[in-house]
């Protein structure tokens, strides 16, 4: 197979983008693990990340993360089969679950900051 096979068709390219989403998400989670670990340095050793570079990095990661969410949750209609329930409804329920979870987590992350 030629090396650049995935550049020839949009469909193949998007498949590779989906596989690649693992890299930025992994980097962000490793950063998050460091953020947790830094809390053991005591109040003086703790300072939150605020650099523009970190925000830009997060924006890029968010793009890839959203693409993973979109493709993965859309697959639920293919994977999950419930008699009498259309695959469209199953996919919709997955997106609804994603939305509710996001609102709850955002509320917790912001609410516990006070």
């Amino acid at each position: 197979m030629a090396r650049g096979w995935w550049l020839r068709q949009r469909h193949y390219f998007l498949y590779m983008v989906r596989e690649f989403t693992a890299v930025p998400m992994a980097l962000w989670l490793l950063w998050f693990l460091v953020e947790i670990q830094r809390a053991s340095n005591g109040p003086k050793g703790y300072y939150p990340h605020s650099s523009p570079g970190f925000v830009v990095f997060s924006v890029i990661v968010l793009g890839f993360a959203l693409y993973h969410s979109y493709t993965f949750l859309s697959l639920a209609g293919v994977i999950i089969h419930i008699k009498g329930v259309s695959s469209r409804l199953i996919v919709l329920s997955q997106f609804a679950l994603w939305f509710v979870a996001s609102v709850v987590i955002a509320a917790a992350l912001i609410g516990f900051a006070r």
Binding site: E19, A26, A39, P48, S58, F72, A101, A108
Partner: protein
């Protein structure tokens, strides 16, 4: 049950575990990661909203909660089983056939196990468990 049948069941069982971890990692990544990146990586650092990890006191208090520790373990560790699988195939697809081999599998899935172990260690050593 003859020996042949036993032999055939073993790899299927291993597959079940890896596929379960892969699928769970996929679900966790899809449902939980975007909101964390948005709130902790963008809105918090820009000062648009207050976020729990922006201050030592609020961060340590939350990190001490055992339920939060379990949640963070799932959030951070599970996606790495998805990442390991995706990255391995990404490498195969861009023309690195070595990523198919057994040593590559040990490195990638072993890497996910290492991340799990490190996450457990970090969560247990960072903030003492408290129910307050």
């Amino acid at each position: 049950m003859n020996h042949e049948a036993t032999r055939q069941q073993k790899p299927a069982f291993a597959h079940l575990i890896w596929w379960f971890l892969f699928a769970q990692g996929g679900v966790v990544a899809a449902i939980l990661i975007p909101v964390h990146v948005l709130v902790q990586g963008i809105l918090g650092p820009l000062g648009i909203v207050p976020v729990v990890d922006r201050h030592y006191d609020t961060w340590v208090r939350v990190l001490g909660n055992p339920i939060v520790k379990l949640y963070l373990l799932a959030l951070i560790a599970l996606p790495f089983y998805l990442f390991a699988h995706r990255l391995r195939y990404f490498l195969v697809d861009i023309g690195v056939p070595a990523a198919r081999t057994l040593p590559a599998q040990v490195i990638f899935y072993g890497g996910a196990i290492v991340v799990t172990a490190v996450t457990i260690w970090v969560l247990l050593t960072t903030a003492p468990i408290s129910l307050g």
